[in-house]
């Protein structure tokens, strides 16, 4: 167990080192770094450091090993499991600039990524074919949004895009995040072909390049326990031409959430067996999901989706895939008479995805409280039961479930909404605990898979085999134990930061 920099002497030495190395950092008033997207807190870190490249990371890690300082890496800190929260005495290492800055240390919003093939040889996108296995070689601080902006002109996209396209690649890898593209390419770690990591020896830092795919997959979901990932080769895929792609909108409405879930669960089971798709997403429509003046309400095709008869719920399901993989979808939909099926254009699909993406975070005059992010229902036949219980548990509260249809199950995200007052926020948090009790049941085949990472629940919710694997990895990569030593402690538990709000 590494000591943390609780002593003023260590802090002073670290500050002196950072000044000498000209690595940007902050000390003092760090309330603003008390949590990440989880609303959990371990307190306030002692320092926040912002290295921009591998050399600065190596120098920082070397210093940490020599002085017994705990480092807690974070990407953008958008994770909802608390993995990027840092306890007092530790140093929060913000990696969002990593490989994303010019020589002066300024991030450039626009960049031209290097494209390589599976062997790491530079490739030319202009000459690439649709079946080529290609990767972008990017700094860990880059995001899929930025990268897709650069790739769009060539008709390519990052293969696996977690719904927050602004999370960093390093963060996606640390949590082994899932998202759009996962049905075709698996979780993010499966889409990484090579990486570089600043790890430790007992004496200092060492920089490793990992090119073995199996080893890369072992490291995926490392939660920052093994080192600072600095660069990755991330799989990209061609955006199918409109004429080769199918985007579909399936819609069903009822007063009975259980009936909706049972019907859609049955449909999803058939789709998983007979279709191949890049993205399968769902959301429930309510009055607050888009603002009254949102232009999508006036869209001649999509606008009607947001008009809801009183007392009824509407669930919409979106699929996108190549035509050849989606041939069975209209036929399957036709077997469910209550389900309305229509093909939509890619821009329309994207417009609805923007609603879907924002839905977990969108609320009018409300804040959304995380905590019920990643329920996976392995048996779609139980989807109706799960939805019944969910809606019963959250009766009277605002908020809405959204989720993904993955080939191995249905992933549901739910965030209750609260007015921005401490009392309301605490009530929402209490409701989440009630919801977890109601839904996380073996007989429902529901598990908190934590697709945004296990984070602070690593010890509590992770499987023993995964604990062992992470301990082995940590011993191999971080024998000095400077990276997130707290995460493997059984007693570590985050406190809900909403209880400290002064609003």
């Amino acid at each position: 167990m590494s000591a943390v920099a609780r002593e003023q002497g260590s802090i002073d030495e670290t500050l002196a080192f950072l000044r000498e190395a000209r690595i940007p950092h902050q000390a003092g008033e760090l309330l603003g770094y008390a949590t990440d997207g989880s609303f959990l807190t371990l307190g306030v870190p002692t320092l926040v450091v912002f290295p921009k490249d591998e050399a600065e990371c190596a120098a920082l890690v070397d210093h940490a090993v020599r002085h017994g300082i705990a480092l807690v890496p974070r990407g953008t800190g958008s994770g909802t499991a608390g993995a990027a929260t840092a306890p007092p005495g530790s140093v929060l290492v913000d990696l969002e600039r990593l490989g994303a800055c010019d020589a002066r240390g300024h991030r450039r919003g626009l960049f031209a990524p290097i494209v390589v093939d599976a062997r790491g040889t530079p490739a030319d996108l202009a000459k690439a074919g649709p079946d080529d296995e290609l990767y972008v070689r990017v700094g860990a601080g880059r995001t899929s949004d930025e990268t897709n902006r650069a790739l769009a002109g060539h008709g390519w996209t990052v293969a696996v895009v977690p719904s927050s396209g602004y999370s960093t690649f390093g963060g996606n890898f640390a949590t082994n995040a899932r998202g759009s593209g996962t049905p075709a390419f698996g979780p993010f770690g499966n889409a990484v072909n090579r990486l570089r990591i600043v790890a430790t020896t007992r004496e200092g830092a060492r920089v490793l390049e990992v090119t073995d795919r199996e080893e890369v997959r072992r490291l995926a979901g490392h939660h920052g326990l093994c080192g600072l990932v600095t660069e990755l080769d991330v799989r990209i895929a061609p955006i199918p031409k409109p004429e080769d792609m199918v985007c579909a909108l399936l819609s069903i409405e009822s007063e009975d959430a259980g009936h909706l879930g049972a019907t859609i669960g049955g449909l999803m089971k058939r789709v998983a067996a007979e279709c191949r798709y890049f993205a399968g997403e769902f959301l429930f429509i309510d009055e607050g999901i888009v603002r009254p003046d949102d232009p999508i309400r006036k869209d001649p095709v999509l606008g009607g989706t947001f008009v809801l008869p009183a007392g009824r719920r509407r669930m919409i399901l979106l699929y996108r895939g190549r035509k050849e993989g989606m041939e069975a979808l209209p036929r399957i939909a036709a077997e469910f008479p209550e389900v309305a099926y229509r093909e939509i254009t890619f821009p329309q699909f994207r417009a609805l995805m923007a609603v879907r993406t924002a839905a977990t975070g969108k609320a009018l005059r409300r804040v959304n409280v995380p905590g019920a992010e990643d329920f996976i229902i392995y048996d779609p036949a139980r989807f109706g039961d799960v939805l019944s219980r969910m809606f019963a548990a959250v009766e009277g509260a605002s908020g809405r479930p959204v989720g993904h249809h993955y080939p191995d199950g249905i992933e549901v995200h739910y965030r209750p909404q609260a007015a921005v007052t401490r009392a309301d926020i605490e009530a929402a948090w209490a409701m989440i605990q009630k919801l977890r009790e109601a839904v996380l049941r073996t007989e429902l085949t529901v598990e908190d898979r934590k697709e945004h990472g296990l984070g602070l629940a690593l010890f509590r919710d992770g499987s023993p085999s995964r604990h062992e694997e992470l301990r082995r990895l940590k011993a191999e990569y971080d024998p000095a134990n400077v990276f997130c030593p707290h995460l493997l402690l059984p007693e570590i538990e985050g406190r809900f930061i909403g209880s400290s709000f002064r609003v």
Binding site: Y33, R104, S164, Y166, A363, V503
Partner: protein, 385 residues
């Protein structure tokens, strides 16, 4: 860090604004913040959390003043947290106790100008720049609100800002409009409001609305995006209805062209790209009129930058509150983007033009291809026969 306390008993209006829409700590604001790209320690998300936890009065001078109030954070926010409005309210709340140092504001020129203009019984000549051949009136249906333009050229010598005013009058005259230009006009108060000086802003608003209402005019036209956002959206909150329709010059031109009252007959063979001013774009949601004007001018080829409309990047300076070395890196980045698309960067706000021209007039961080900064109204005037 110096703690800044608000006056005792003052309600925390800033926190009330911040709590209207809830922050979910997703960090999208910060990842899209231009200031954050050059100063990683500046983060709207961090500031919001600090405020939620009761620390907003301890905002550092840097966090309080580095924000450009460009609104890119709010535009990408899933819950549309009004961070610029929070910053504005915080600047207002902390005004009496802050010790602000603002070395790059041209000696506080704009601030001094606003305070002078807030005085009663001001004797101004606001028409001296107009010159021969252009028709203006003492009264009429249409007011041309010139903004700071007549005063800017004395300081910003590298921009002929009056050129925009002349172009506006030329265009209006060509459409049969003889606009009223009033010597009673005062500064719109934009900078005062955004820098926390509400008293000066409200005084200016009252002085302006007095002569505007008395004029009997039906419309007020401005070529400045900042004046437009003040007169259209902020004045009514303070002084009620102005009794005139406030339009930006590009909206007027678009309307005149569509109605057949204005024709561009002289080709202007230029490839241009367009800078959405924050106050006209994100603050006022007007993205289309300037583009419609550019498309109506024969010979003009519009090539869009990668970051446009809601995602447009700020010119680097907001309300002259901030202009430092890091500003220059922002401007370099934006101008590189513009230069990769066209030889001419067109904007619809004199202040964007000033800030970009200021940068080009100085010592650019890195070499830039030749790039001209042009106002859209100026371009329209060139296309008149």
């Amino acid at each position: 860090m110096e703690a800044l306390a608000p006056p005792a008993g003052a309600p925390d209006e800033a926190l009330r604004i911040l709590a209207q829409e809830g922050c979910i700590q997703c960090n999208k604001c910060t990842m899209n913040c231009p200031v954050h790209r050059v100063d990683v320690t500046f983060s709207p998300r961090k500031t919001i959390l600090q405020a939620y936890l009761g620390g907003s009065d301890a905002l550092s001078e840097r966090d309080l003043w580095a924000c450009l109030t460009c609104g890119e954070c709010q535009a990408v926010c899933a819950t549309e947290v009004p961070f610029p409005a929070f910053i504005r309210a915080k600047r207002e709340a902390l005004r009496s106790v802050r010790e602000r140092t603002a070395p790059c504001k041209h000696g506080g020129y704009k601030e001094i100008l606003a305070k002078i203009m807030a005085k009663p019984n001001l004797n101004q000549d606001r028409r001296g720049w107009i010159g021969d051949g252009l028709q203006v009136a003492d009264a009429g249906d249409v007011i041309y609100f010139t903004g700071c333009m007549p005063y800017l050229d004395g300081v910003f010598t590298y921009t002929d800002t009056a050129r925009i005013g002349k172009a506006a009058i030329k265009v209006m005259n060509a459409a049969g409009i003889v606009p009223m230009v009033s010597n009673a006009e005062r500064c719109c108060g934009h900078d005062a409001l955004w820098n926390g000086d509400r008293e000066t802003f409200e005084t200016l608003a009252r002085r302006n609305v007095e002569w505007i209402r008395a004029s009997g005019a039906k419309r007020l036209v401005t070529t400045c995006a900042e004046c437009y956002s003040m007169l259209k959206y902020e004045y009514p909150k303070v002084v009620g209805d102005l009794n005139v329709e406030v339009v930006h010059m590009t909206q007027l031109i678009q309307e005149l062209v569509a109605a057949g009252k204005l024709a561009f007959t002289k080709p202007v063979d230029l490839t241009v790209t367009y800078q959405d001013p924050c106050r006209l774009g994100r603050h006022s949601k007007e993205y289309d009129a300037p583009r419609a004007v550019l498309r109506a001018i024969p010979g003009v080829k519009l090539v869009e930058m990668d970051r446009i409309r809601e995602n447009s990047m700020c010119c680097g300076v907001g309300a002259y509150a901030n202009c430092d070395a890091q500003t220059k890196f922002l401007q370099q980045e934006r101008l590189e983007e513009a230069a990769s698309k066209a030889e001419n960067l067109v904007t619809a706000c004199p202040h964007c033009r000033i800030h970009f021209s200021c940068y080009l007039d100085g010592q650019p961080v890195d070499p830039l291809p030749d790039l001209k900064i042009i106002d859209v109204t100026d371009l329209a005037a060139q296309a008149l026969g």
